[in-house]
Symmetry: C2
Subunit: 272 residues, 2 copies
């Protein structure tokens, strides 16, 4: 018997602080298992949710993308509403559901991923951004971070900046951009580092951030980043930045699956 299925794509937000990362594991709460549990209670079937990529324990998402197949056809807004009802009280929200053709794949069709890393530079501990940013003591020289970041752009062997547990066959990646946005607000110096690439290696962003912070603090020269990269030697990496500061912001596809339904994220009738 051939069962025809319907493919749905999710846009998901989550607070990674309470989860052992994206990927389903035995005896651990993960984002993927919470979504699959919600679908099981909704449809009575074991459904596999395929993410655009894994996020580690403690890493957040403002725009994770995932897909799955259902036997029954659902009105996408109703499906989003029902999933959110079954996810309660998890810190996971389905922002949007759309239907897609069987050729769409959240992981393999993705052409660009954007991560943001948040730093707060000040002597005081964090009260509001706990679990959302890395608080470090100054001094911090933003121009040195920018100078070091330029050495990382383009296609390189990123062996130095990936976990020894990284399962990718190739350590070659192309880093398209690193934007360094810095501002002060009376509570400290805030620095957002925004990384864009087709794909990233395991722990790549946190490894890069830990080394860039060494440069910003003045204990590494910007050129040491270039040397560490060329060495292709994991021992040349600085400390790995904590997971709490990292957020998966956006995953891009040749044909944006949420383009036609952007209004459903926010309801109808806006103006500003």
């Amino acid at each position: 018997m051939i069962v025809s299925t319907h493919r749905y794509v999710l846009l998901i937000e989550y607070d990674g602080a309470g989860y052992h990362g994206w990927q389903r594991q035995k005896n651990a709460r993960t984002i993927q298992s919470c979504l699959e549990d919600a679908l099981l209670s909704l449809c009575g079937q074991d459904i596999t949710v395929h993410g655009s990529g894994r996020t580690d324990t403690g890493v957040h998402a403002e725009g994770q993308v995932a897909h799955f197949d259902l036997e029954h056809r659902w009105e996408p807004r109703r499906l989003a509403h029902a999933m959110n009802a079954h996810l309660r009280p998890e810190r996971i929200a389905v922002l949007c559901v759309t239907s897609a053709s069987q050729t769409f794949h959240a992981r393999y069709a993705a052409i660009e991923r954007t991560y943001r890393y948040r730093l707060v530079v000040r002597p005081a501990p964090l009260a509001l951004e706990v679990n959302r940013a890395w608080r470090i003591a100054g001094p911090m020289h933003v121009d040195r971070i920018r100078a070091a970041g330029r050495h990382l752009l383009g296609r390189h062997d990123f062996t130095t900046f990936r976990s020894v547990h990284c399962q990718s066959r190739s350590p070659i990646r192309t880093l398209d951009s690193i934007d360094v946005n810095a501002w002060e607000d009376g509570r400290g110096l805030h620095i957002n580092l925004v990384f864009t690439a087709r794909s990233f290696l395991h722990r790549q962003v946190r490894s890069l951030v830990g080394s860039l912070v060494k440069v910003g603090q003045g204990s590494w020269s910007p050129e040491r980043i270039a040397d560490a990269l060329k060495a292709c030697d994991r021992s040349q990496c600085g400390p790995v930045a904590p997971a709490a500061g990292l957020t998966l912001m956006r995953v891009c596809y040749p044909d944006d699956p949420f383009k036609s339904v952007a209004a459903s994220i926010r309801g109808a009738g806006h103006d500003s």
Copy 2:
């Protein structure tokens, strides 16, 4: 015996979610009591911490100001560091300490207070801004909120928009500005309402926001805000907006107590 004392001023950040507001109470964790407990364990004395004003249960602060007197002289940066050590693991951070003359008073010397109220307009529940914003379903017309806000500016009797438990002798206040900042980020429509006045009545901002949201949703006309204000009748107020969206951003004084020590908030040696 005359004991000369030294006055210190605090700039404080807190996540209000776990506290029964600012003011000390029996059998309840409050911001004031946590600060006083930290000073007791630090100095071995009961010290009263005077805030610029109370914040309600669940209300946050990015820039609350408070003062207190100590018999011993402290180096301000050391005092900040010691207080933060004694406050751990509370969600309260002392951003800055400065010394001040006995004429400074956190409450009575304040000439301007700024509050921000955060709205997120979308069908999905919040996963990242839980306890930090009010999530409401659309539609939401920002231009209507702006039009309604103009009726509230200036000096008025705000009886309609204060709690029946408000202890201020006069219901007259002067609202200097309401800034309505709105943007979309693919997760929803974000609206920050920023209110500035010399002082506010109890529940005034949340009462105003609840009524302005009625206008934004289209169920009240902008003019109904003017009529409600003129009525001086609490029953004409809309629903009171939840505490979670509200943050005390800034308290201003004729002579900024933190002016000379801004660098100590963020450490030395920044550039951007």
